[in-house]
Amino acid sequence: MRASSPLVLAAAAVALAGCATKTPQDDPARMASLKAAYDRLHERLEKAAATEPLVASAFADRGQVVLAMRSGLIEELAGNVARRYLDRVTVDLSDVEGHSSGELRRKTFLGRIKVGEWSVSVDLGSLTGHLRAGSPRVSLRGPDLIDVELPVDVEETEGDATLRFGWDSAGLANVVCKDFELTREIRGRVLPQRHLVSGALRLRNTGESLTATPVFPDRRIQLKLDLTGRSWGVVEAALRSQDTSGKCGTLMDPDKGLVRLRALAARGIKVRLPDSIFRAVTFPARLHKAVKVNQRTVALRLTAESLRIETATLWSSVSVQVQANPKP
């Protein structure tokens, strides 16, 4: 026993050495100094943060999750989406028809009388319009709009078309001039031209996502057309074929008829772009109705709180409520 005493003492010392590395306790002086520094820094932060408009905007929202997107990013995304609506799009014009009509009056010994009515229609048949979109101009407009101005170039194309020209004599003219209707297959040309399509994307906070829905109320473009030189020749010949006695030769001037047709082509034909071209998109930042926490699925209820454009930023907030009973 006595012999072992020194060894016991040694073991106890080592054990004490182990015990000596126990959990460090608070040093009151150091804690007081750190706490004082903490209070000063906190006050500095609060004072400086209060002057930052972005901080104020972020705290203005009620939801547990706030998503903020800078105007530069929104404009970049919206512009690229808008451009893709109309870039490299081919519009089938086969159902498009241009129509014009008018009446012809002449001076007679009875005064100026109506001698007839003319009408012309063009069925664009196999013509197509190839669209190319340019660089859009995009700007945010509160509370929830992204204005878009999109230049669209129409490329030159050629295709088959059908021209119908009709003449309906009126009153006394009926005696000397028969009605007629001409139909000619021609080759039409869509002229190269630029249009500006204006509209907006309306932003919406659904809770789960931020969507941008196109609002383009005026989707019409005035498509300028022409005929090939050969086809103008066909039309001219057709009109002149009526310029004979017993038809309308003396009343209906073929040259004037051609002028009218050229004016119609130059004015263009209204083409309405299909609504379905303009598609709603969802922005890439979104919320989820479930998350994994410690390998368990926690279900959430999302409620949209707000959406606004402020301080060159799109702000949206969502209330998130955790549902009970997560699934393993």
């Binding site: 959990t23 706030v66 101009r137 930042a285 994994k292 410690n294």
Partner: protein, 248 residues
């Protein structure tokens, strides 16, 4: 007999020297309490935040800013409590409650429960202090994932957890993978996808294929103040996309 006493004195002396060396190793800062370490870290972060706020760059972001309330993170953790695991080194930890505080530079997660060692039926109440240090976007889903790291552990009755600095050992065990066994994953219910999808048009007269505009996205930094976690995400269309003329 005398020699034996001398030998014993030498052994004791050596043990004391070992202890002294262990405690007073040159270059090693004196160990701080958990509260002291936390306050120090909060002060470090507050200096950065205060400077940024004074320079007007506290919320300097170009892409997306995701702001998450501390209450949501707290509710998410509470939804899966109790958390229980053998965390390593013979320690077993069961967390019964959790709260969060994102007020002062550190996204603090405070978890309270009991720890025991070696399968003992008794243990000690412990408070595990952790911080959300890293927030990342999942490479596929784009969901925000938090990585939580240990700041320290406080035990009400450290002696119930064994000898030789059991709290220090528990802290180290939790730091070296033990916390991951306890709280394996923590997702924030927000994702940022790496593409913007434009849907297809499928109609009789019009057919346009769907298109994806690729985005480059990355979490740039994370801040914690005002009771919220502020996640700054850089987001931009990939270089091939169209130049847009902004009117603002």
């Amino acid at each position: 007999m005398r020699e034996l006493r001398i030998a014993a004195a030498v052994v004791v002396g050596l043990a004391i020297l070992v202890l002294a060396f262990a405690q007073l190793r040159p270059g090693r800062p004196p160990r701080m309490s958990v509260r002291e370490a936390l306050l120090s870290r909060q002060n470090q972060e507050l200096v950065k935040l205060a400077l940024a706020a004074e320079n007007g760059t506290l919320l300097d972001f170009k892409g997306v800013l995701i702001v998450v309330d501390q209450v949501l993170v707290q509710d998410l953790i509470r939804a899966v409590t109790p958390l229980e695991a053998d965390v390593g080194s013979g320690f077993h930890v069961k967390i019964d409650s959790a709260d969060t505080a994102f007020g002062d530079g550190v996204a603090l997660v405070r978890m309270v429960g009991r720890a025991s060692v070696g399968g003992a039926s008794v243990g000690s109440q412990v408070t595990v202090l952790a911080a959300i240090d890293v927030v990342e976007l999942h490479p596929i889903s784009g969901v925000l994932e938090c990585r939580v790291s240990i700041l320290g552990v406080e035990a009400q009755d450290a002696t119930a957890l064994g000898r030789n600095d059991p709290v220090g050992r528990l802290t180290e065990t939790l730091t070296r993978g033990g916390l991951a066994l306890l709280l394996g994953s923590l997702e924030i219910p927000v994702s940022v996808e790496n593409r913007l999808s434009i849907p297809a048009v499928e109609s009789k007269r019009l057919q346009i294929a769907a298109e994806n505009l690729p985005l480059t996205i990355a979490v740039q930094q994370v801040k914690a103040f005002g009771g919220r976690l502020w996640v700054f995400v850089d987001a931009a269309l990939a270089p091939s996309s169209t130049k847009v003329e902004g009117a603002s």
